[in-house]
Symmetry: C2
Subunit: 323 residues, 2 copies
């Protein structure tokens, strides 16, 4: 896993993934006490950065593998990313999703042409289900984060951050990244280490699901004690990946743990001040930037708003924090 794989993924993705904008607001700067730059990855195709990894992985397959098809297991965003990438490659896709994923994510994945298989997040093991289906049908498994071509795809987001922040004259800053298994976090960290070494990644996680933060602190892989019951469903994973954790150990600063309420308030402020829709898990980094100013140094922070697939009821709940 290295920067050349990320650069190669950027070549393959060119013209397919959207180059998402960096957004700002003087109102957010005032809350954070420093300049806040938001990489609006919720505006990516399928509403999250996961399209990058999905496209990168599918576009790296052999012609034979493309013909047979792909399989992925996902709480929703990886599902949609892989589904659309597969459809654009005319490749069949089977997606294994938890039955408690937001309804809109399940429906969207089906609408993007994928076959959806549901499982119970509390009692069944998605890895086992994915491996069995892959084996039976000869499908190529595209893991959500612990997969080199997926990490490379997510890393293309880091190349854009490096280039855009250089253009804005920001060379020293922390980059808060919403973190589940660490695919995006490690991909961005690798890209920035090569292209913008003054920009340091800080994983942001929800309270109670802070496996990466604890793993970075202890120096070994730590697990979450539960795997459901969070509004931040998109970034809940059992533990950091075998591939992603060493990369994060080498390149990331300490993790930042935010509350669900802070995520909801960050969503509301993104609505009011940036006019973007962010889902709870996708708002963890912005919540860190706005509500945990003491954890950052310097006069600028970059927050990656990783996804925007959220049910209307949850979004309405976030808006209530404005009044």
């Amino acid at each position: 896993m290295n920067i050349d794989m990320i650069r190669a993924a950027a070549q393959r993705i060119q013209g397919h993934a959207r180059r998402t904008p960096i957004l700002t607001s003087p109102f957010l700067d005032e809350i954070a006490g420093r300049r806040v730059f938001v990489k609006a990855e919720c505006l990516q195709h399928t509403g999250s950065f996961k399209f990058r990894g999905g496209w990168s992985a599918v576009s790296a397959l052999t012609d034979n593998a493309l013909k047979t098809g792909v399989i992925a297991f996902s709480s929703g965003n990886h599902a949609q990313g892989v589904a659309l990438a597969a459809r654009e490659h005319n490749t069949p896709a089977v997606i294994v999703m938890p039955s408690d994923a937001p309804a809109v994510k399940i429906a969207n994945t089906r609408a993007l042409g994928a076959e959806v298989v549901l499982y119970d997040r509390g009692t069944e093991d998605r890895d086992e289900i994915g491996a069995r289906l892959a084996n039976e049908k000869g499908l190529t498994l595209i893991k959500p984060f612990d997969e080199p071509q997926v990490i490379a795809g997510q890393g293309t987001c880091g190349l854009e951050i490096a280039e855009d922040m250089a253009g804005l004259g920001v060379t020293q800053a922390d980059v808060a990244v919403c973190c589940g298994g660490g695919g995006l976090t490690s991909g961005i960290a690798l890209a920035l280490a090569a292209e913008a070494p003054g920009l340091r990644v800080r994983p942001a996680e929800p309270e109670g699901f802070d496996d990466v933060t604890r793993s970075l602190a202890s120096g070994q892989i730590e697990r979450n004690t539960r795997l459901s019951g969070s509004l931040c469903d998109a970034i809940i994973t059992p533990q950091p990946g075998d591939l992603t954790f060493p990369i994060m150990q080498t390149h990331c600063g300490p993790g930042i743990v935010v509350s669900e309420d802070e995520c909801l308030r960050a969503m509301a402020l993104a609505f009011e001040r940036l006019r973007i829709v962010v889902e709870p898990g996708g708002a963890a980094a912005l919540a860190a930037a706005l509500f945990h100013p003491g954890t950052f140094e310097g006069d600028a922070v970059i927050a990656v708003a990783t996804g925007g697939n959220v049910d209307a009821a949850v979004f309405a709940k976030a808006l209530e924090t404005l009044s």
Copy 2:
């Protein structure tokens, strides 16, 4: 008023206004029955295209005029655009706003450093108030739409549409534009006439406030019979401008009238499918693209989402249309 003024405004705006992205979704294409491209001008600084016109006008002032200050009257978005442009030029700004404008717009205008003067939209004449204050204090009046440098600034949005759509290979399409007094509509129309003559502007207006549509149909300036009571407050004006109307007559196709309910549904779909926040008046063009397919020809339509400054309660009402 000509294309050279728009090109000059684009030079002055470079690096100050945000180049807003073109967003798409296969789900919106399916609803509309053709490809839909959304110019997300709600992501512009201050949340609407009005920052373009504000910056263009302020940046064209003499040093003396910059020192004395500017005045603007506005239902809100022009206010914020002028206020921020003035602040970034270190120029004092007085903004005359209707007392029934959304609370968030009034608060934002004040927070951007402007002095806000409120008036009653039903009983007072904002033009008279603006002219009197301008006269008393020696301020330069920046009209919201019937002002060459403002039209030139809004036209920069059209230059971007021309360039981006050429890059996407779309050379023949209608461009639906949310239309109040016609500043943005005429600016985009002038830019496209010069740079992308196969792209034709279609003004989109809310029911009951369709002065431009009726004026284009009759060939003379028609007035609205009322000036308040619409969710689409941002694009409610008494009549098309003396400058903007002849430009629209020359370059625009027929207007399109949409209902408030269609605007709310377009807002909800923009939330769900594009992850952007659009205000009711800013959703009129997307509503036209999605719900009035019979008025367009060809396999593509471009809709300008002009603004995203909306109270949480109104947005929550839009989200209810999803269930």
